[in-house]
């Protein structure tokens, strides 16, 4: 058994199995238990990591476990996070924090009351290109940021347990599930958002091809255009362009991969694409390592519940704008 914190993982889907891999290389943490409704999935993680397969309630109730990692569909986050906090566990919860602000508030309150730490999986803050651009801007290399454009997606609607991504009430669609990454990153970079206007295919007539364009006006003055796409345009990719008073940065993951692999595959392959890359360390590992280190009394960067809540507000404002056709003030 490794020294360090004992982690129980709830949910072994695309993100849960990514996290399970991460714990194998984090020295001061050990994945000891996995819960998943699909036995084969739990078994796959258990046989790779040595974790035992147990029910979620057993894991949360086990006094030897220090951290609960919640990787279930969005609409279930609140229940598991609150239970885990009440059991005195620190919690890592995948993004988006919750399906509604009320749920997110309950999660924050439960963690505060129990005195446990809560981290939200805004992993883009740990991606090397996004970190590098963040520092480029903060070091005044392009001056004050004026206009930002981001792109995320380009793959068909992800398919997972019970097709939950396709259920708007469960997932919030791509605005809440995916481009919240960009909302969070931009808020980290540029500060609070003043106004949101958005349009999407949602509620029109072709919901399995979801595509959204969101404009954010920041209190700093900056204007951001955020594109999210669950329409296949060659597979998952991300882009950003930031224009400032002294210069411009642009990035396109399709043009900067040091390695290109093409595997013939039909569009609509089941699953959820998780970015891979030529990394010193997977950003998913870096993210969890930081949280574990903080719990372990060391230095680390954690996107906490307050941050997760603020980014959730932007995504929900975008959904409100899509629904009403009006601009939403934050």
């Amino acid at each position: 058994m490794k020294p360090g914190l004992k982690v129980g993982l709830i949910g072994g889907g695309a993100m849960g199995s990514t996290h399970a891999e991460a714990y194998r290389v984090i020295e001061n943490a050990e994945l000891v238990a996995i819960a998943d409704l699909i036995p084969e999935r739990a078994q796959a993680i258990a046989s790779k990591t040595g974790a035992t397969i147990r029910s979620a309630n057993e894991i949360i109730g086990d006094p030897s476990i220090d951290v609960i990692d919640v990787c279930v569909p969005t609409f279930l986050h609140r229940d598991f996070v609150v239970k885990a906090a009440e059991a005195g566990k620190h919690v890592f919860c995948e993004k988006p924090m919750a399906r509604s602000l009320k749920e997110a508030e309950e999660m924050k309150a439960a963690c505060d009351k129990a005195g446990v730490k809560l981290a939200i999986g805004h992993v883009v803050r740990f991606f090397p290109e996004y970190i590098s651009a963040y520092h480029k801007v903060k070091n005044d290399q392009i001056g004050d940021v004026a206009v930002v454009r981001t792109t995320r997606g380009g793959f068909a609607l992800p398919t997972a347990w019970n097709d939950w991504y396709a259920n708007y009430e469960w997932s919030g669609g791509l605005v809440l599930d995916m481009i919240i990454h960009d909302f969070d990153y931009l808020r980290w970079l540029l500060g609070p958002v003043e106004r949101v206007f958005a349009k999407s295919t949602l509620g029109r007539d072709y919901n399995r091809l979801e595509y959204a364009l969101v404009t954010l006006k920041f209190k700093s003055g900056a204007i951001a255009h955020v594109e999210g796409s669950w329409v296949n345009s060659g597979g998952f990719h991300t882009r950003f362009e930031m224009a400032g008073t002294k210069g411009l940065i642009d990035y396109d993951s399709r043009q900067t991969s040091p390695i290109k692999l093409t595997v013939n595959r039909r569009d609509g392959t089941p699953g959820v694409p998780v970015p891979t890359g030529a990394w010193e360390e997977s950003p998913y590992t870096t993210e969890l390592r930081n949280f574990i280190n903080v719990l372990d009394g060391k230095e680390g960067i954690v996107v906490d519940g307050n941050e997760g809540y603020e980014s959730l507000r932007i995504a929900l404002a975008a959904l409100e704008s899509i629904e009403t056709g009006k601009a939403v003030l934050l």
Binding site: D144, A146, V147, R149, G154, R195, F197, A198, K199, S200, T201, R204, D205, Y206, L209, Y211, L213, T215, K217, G221, A222, I223, H225, E227, S229, V231, N232, S233, A243, G244, T245, K246, G247, L248, G325, K326, A327
Partner: protein, 328 residues
């Protein structure tokens, strides 16, 4: 056919002048410019007559004029040319107000002369090919459109509202609006805009971001920002992404380029080989005049594009979407 040019205020004047000199059947007959020195210089550069008075040029035997004045002067010059029975090719945007645009359209109709708006991007071979793909049906039904028309900050009268009608939004809304109308046959119904002066110390906005509702349950966004720094490899560009039920089409109107690294330039450059859209535009206008065919880009096309820019300004004022019909 003899053609004259009115005003070299706009930076595109040189490209049209070169085109006029290169088109068979055209005699580039002369230049009038309200700035006499600028007119004389241009006349010498292109080897044509310099008219010191507009009336003198309009009284000559030219059959058409190309107008590259400030946006605000388009109406005055177009009406004068129409009254003198000259066909008109006028730089975009058609005008700075709906009233002016309508007056121009009426005058040309009344005097039975052609009025074409200079939207050269329609003539880019890449755009022509894109329209062919759209019309082939390969994309299915169009759901959404993402457009950009970014550029460097032009300065000069472009930033003075009384001459240009606005800033980055006025300058860069109309091209992509026209391309969308032409390529997809959609009309614009409601506009939301965020714009601001964020980069340069100028009187007008330099950044603009429009979100638009179109006919056919289609939505679109358009980035009009003058945000290309001096170190950028080119002046800017026009891009358009179409999201369809059976496919996605990404277009870069100026995407046919190669990289150039020259020590004398101190920055990387993109050398374009995508075709001379200004030449094709002017030639098409001349052909329409000579053969008495309808022009491809009408005054109404210019007015439709202008309406979107004006609705964007109104939206930016009230921070909510504005219906096109409410600003007509």
């Amino acid at each position: 056919m003899k053609v004259g040019m009115i005003s070299f205020a706009h930076v595109h004047a040189g490209a049209y002048a070169s085109a006029l000199n290169g088109i068979p059947h055209v005699e580039f007959a002369g230049i009038y410019d309200e700035d006499e020195a600028r007119g004389a210089e241009a006349a010498e550069k292109y080897g044509v007559a310099h008219f010191k008075s507009l009336d003198e040029m309009l009284a000559s035997d030219i059959e058409a004029v190309v107008i590259c004045s400030t946006n605000a002067d388009h109406c005055h010059y177009t009406v004068k040319a129409a009254e003198a029975k000259k066909h008109v090719l006028v730089e975009k945007p058609i005008a700075t107000t709906i009233e002016d645009a309508k007056q121009m359209i009426e005058a040309c109709k009344k005097h039975n002369v052609k009025l074409q708006i200079a939207f050269p991007v329609r003539y880019m071979p890449a755009m022509v090919e894109a329209k062919r793909i759209v019309q082939s049906g390969q994309l299915g039904r169009i759901l959404a459109i993402k457009g950009t028309n970014n550029g460097s900050m032009p300065g000069g009268w472009f930033v003075e509202k009384d001459k240009s009608g606005g800033g980055a939004v006025m300058d860069h809304t109309v091209h992509v609006v026209d391309i969308i109308r032409w390529m997809l046959g959609l009309e614009f119904e409601e506009i939301y805009a965020e714009y601001d002066r964020l980069i340069y110390d100028i009187p007008s906005e330099d950044c603009g971001m429009l979100t638009m509702e179109l006919t056919g349950n289609v939505f679109a966004t358009l980035d009009t920002s003058w945000n290309r720094p001096k170190s950028y490899p080119t002046w800017g560009g026009v891009t358009l992404t179409l999201i369809g039920t059976s496919g996605v089409l990404e277009m870069d109107a100026f995407g046919q380029y190669y990289n150039v690294y020259r020590d004398e330039a101190t920055k990387a450059e993109w050398a374009n080989f995508g075709g001379n859209m200004d030449y094709i535009l002017v030639k098409d206008f001349v052909d329409a005049c000579i053969n008495d065919k309808p022009v491809k880009i009408t005054g109404e096309d210019g007015l439709r594009a202008l309406e979107v820019a004006l609705a964007a300004y109104e939206s930016g004022r009230i921070h909510q979407p504005v219906k096109i019909e409410d600003i007509r």
